[in-house]
Amino acid sequence: MRNPIRSEADAFRFVLLTIGYFALIVIGSVINVWLGLGVFVGLTLGVVWWIVSRRSREPPLPPQAPPPHPPDEHRILVVANETVGGAELLTTLRAHVSGRNARVHVVSPALNSPLRHWVSDEDPAREEAQARLDRSLAAMRAAGVVADGEVGDGDPLQAIEDALRTFRPDELIVSTHPPGRSHWLERGVVEKARERFALPVTHVTVELP
């Protein structure tokens, strides 16, 4: 979620909203205590609903600046979790790089449990992500794909956004487990990536044994 208050003007608007919020609660309470409580609950739920709906209506990021790489070079950003070494992903990649001067950058998000995330214990997650990345890069290079990579943020959308700033890809490939097994699909990562990033997005499902 993007920070809704980014400037003095935003903070001032927040002051006005706060005044309105509490004024309605006080007016309700003066009329009747239970009405005041109802206004408080109603307004609070309304605010929560607004925040949640605002998240889903976030405008896409502005288009990327022209990629500072030779015009004949085609850059592909790959984001994948455990499926990073899957055969389907390799097949798709080979098809996308075929006949092109292509360069692939793989981001392996450091997937972590919520508890470990909140206590900032991400070393094991990063180590596992690095091991997955090393294996997949070796497989890609063996298949003739020019690739490098990095371990990214545990949130795949944040990992993509971070990579966009340094790699500037021409297209994005998101690799997930099949529907029913994939947390990313459940969270709508592919759809959100299509909404947020002004890039062609290819979704690859990988069936792991």
């Binding site: 400037s7 003095e8 001032f12 509490f22 006080v26 990629p67 971070d162």
Partner: protein, 202 residues
Amino acid sequence: MTAFAEAHDHHGPPPIHYSSRVTPAVLGMFLFIASEIMLFGSFFTVYFFDRVVNHSFGGHWPPPGFHRPAFVAGVNTLILVTSSFTMHWADTSIKRGNRAGLQAGLVLTLLLGLTFLLTQVIEYHRLGFNTGDTSFAATFFGLTGLHGAHVFVGLTILSVMTIRAFRGHFSPEHHHGVEIGGIYWHFVDVMWIVVYVTVYLL
């Protein structure tokens, strides 16, 4: 020169990447405010705990013998809310290159903030109870005093901003000092609205 050549002509580290797209100074202020909200949250927790636990006053709050000067505090609230408007005026003015507006806005904000703080000090003297008189008094002074301390810090920041404004600092392109100080001042205002409604009205 091609874009590729231009990209490789750059020496030194790559440009800074702000993933949150908020500058570090503004982000720092937001993180500071987040910690402040937690601090105020702990005080509010104590206040509500005290209020819920002390049912023995026959449903009366505050306890018998205590009077909250809601009217004076209401006037004080208006003063502080007005100072948010003048602060916003100052910020808008410098963004438009209006230095006189910036200076007037900051001076007015400073004066309104000072008035608020002085009124609160006078109110403390006339309350008729002190911090040691029951848990209600302790939490009352704790919450309002904590906020008063923040107003004092805000006034210090405003003083620096005002002096800088009169010394020719800030411009439409560079006014981070006004922006960040303004965000803090609005935070102080929002916290007072919460404190006023919670402690004086409800």
